[in-house]
């Protein structure tokens, strides 16, 4: 059984079909890349899976149990965590406080939660900024914070929404390394990204969306040669 199963997932916003009959399986330990032109519905899929938006129809199952209809905090408790495309830190709280809040999900006592939080913070390389206010971090550090916070909830699966947006090439390399480390630590990853080089390099499998539907699903090398995918991306340079 796949870790995460999405079946026939559909979402309408008024007359617009943002996601149409999407079926995907995510296996444990995978890094699954989710790509597609702007407006393809990728972030909507994230919102659907994490409970921020309710599906119009379709099923979403984590380890065989449905998560449809759960509020985001309950979805997080089940083990699905996410980051946001535009980072959403708690701006006036420190890095430590930001991540400790997330750690409270699995650790009742403050001291335990803080310890667990600091462990993740160190692992993601922002330990030296533990007391800095989130609003005062550089962009890449904010992205690290975003990931640390999601990881501190102890997820089985982590949804990363364009973590490399706005980063320069060397930072992209670092971020890719972090994603791989996350997978090494036992967390399955779904990665939405536009930076092709990164996605192709680290994904085990790639799913391509276009106009809300899945148009390809397979290893990166194969997907990139798929004529349907090329047609969807016509004009978009492969980075």
């Amino acid at each position: 059984m796949a870790l995460l199963e999405v079946e026939g997932l559909t979402r309408f916003f008024g007359g617009l079909r943002a996601v149409g009959n999407l079926s995907v399986e995510v296996n444990e330990g995978e890094i699954l890349g989710l790509i597609g032109p702007n407006g393809a519905g990728k972030t909507t899929v994230f919102n659907l899976v994490t409970g921020f938006v309710r599906p119009s129809s379709g099923a979403i199952r984590l380890e065989g149990r449905s998560v449809v209809g759960l509020k985001p905090h309950a979805v997080a408790r089940r083990g699905i965590a996410r980051t946001f495309q535009i980072v959403k830190p708690f701006p006036r709280l420190s890095v430590r406080e930001n991540v400790t809040l997330a750690a409270f999900l699995r650790h009742r006592a403050r001291r335990e939660a803080e310890a667990a939080a600091m462990e993740v913070v160190e692992r993601l390389g922002i330990g030296h900024r533990a007391e800095t206010l989130a609003s005062q971090l550089t962009l890449i550090d904010q992205k690290r914070l975003e990931m640390a916070r999601a990881l501190a909830t102890g997820p089985r699966i982590l949804l990363l929404d364009e973590p490399m947006g706005g980063l320069n090439p060397s930072e992209v390399g670092t971020a890719s390394g972090i994603v791989e480390q996350i997978r090494e630590s036992g967390v399955t990853v779904i990665l939405v990204e536009h930076v092709m080089k990164a996605i192709m390099r680290i994904s085990d499998r790639v799913v391509v969306m276009h106009h809300g539907e899945k148009i390809a699903d397979g290893p990166p090398a194969q997907v990139v040669q798929d004529p349907a995918v090329i047609a969807a991306y016509f004009g978009k340079r492969a980075a």
Binding site: F52, R77, P89, L101, A102, R108
Partner: protein, 327 residues
Amino acid sequence: MSRRARILAGTAGALALAALPLVVKNTFFLHVCILVFMWTVLGAAWNVLGGFAGQVSFGHAALFAIGSYATIILFLKAGIAPWWGIPLGGVAAAGLSVPIGLLCFRLRGPYFSLATLAVAELARLVALNWEWLTNGPIGFLITTLPPLQILGYSVDWESKLPFYALAAFLMMAALLSTAWLRQSRLGAFLAAIREDEDAAEAVGIDTVRSKVVTLALSGFLAGLGGGFYAFYFRYVDPDAVLSIGLSMEMVFIAMVGGLGTVGGPLIGAVFLTTVGEAVRERFQVGHLVFYGLFMMLVIRFLPEGIWGRVLRLLARVQARVQRHGAA
């Protein structure tokens, strides 16, 4: 402020409170103190929801009124003495705040605020018209309070002392519960909700539950204040306990004192009672003009409130002292 400093300040304050009526016997002064204590409880009640959880309510008078009506009705109709009625009033207000919260928390920001306003105004209409429950515009009046013996002494209800003691006790309870909230896990969750509610949900914080629990605490305190009001002033009617003015006064105290601070409501209450009463003397009708003006001035020039600013200055002084100490 360090923990030790806070405990010291708290104990010193408590001792001063206890000693005060032994030193100053002037009844008007004691009356003012009682008002300050009562308003502190109400300001703290609002602060819990508005300052800590960041949810601005313009209808807190409704919770206050539930406490007032509960206390006075329990006494006049069921013979339950006010010293039991007051905590029961608090519980009633907390209880009713839950459905109100579940209704209003579906909305965020200004929509929430307006919903609370609508709820309070509806409550006022109900209180005015549902005569069998609330006696309508006539309200309720306590003519005689029940006799009470404490440690062999018969309590004199004509004196300010018993009310002073009760009010001081309620105020300490309110301040202590606010202090507890601040360092609790719930308090941390509220800080997250205040910063970014979606992000808080994403990291597993049940935002609705946190808000409802906080509202219940806020309602409890407001209900306590309302119950005390019924006990001390002995008269409850819709105009007195369900006015928008009253809701605004609670907002005002918390804002001027300092949102999200523990001591803020006390400072705000002192400000409101002293300056406010003076303005009321002078102007009678339209005295709320002072509240409106000061709210605007505080938001413009002192958004963290008086006490909030004091705390910030103290922190800066402390930091400077530490730096010089290290260097």
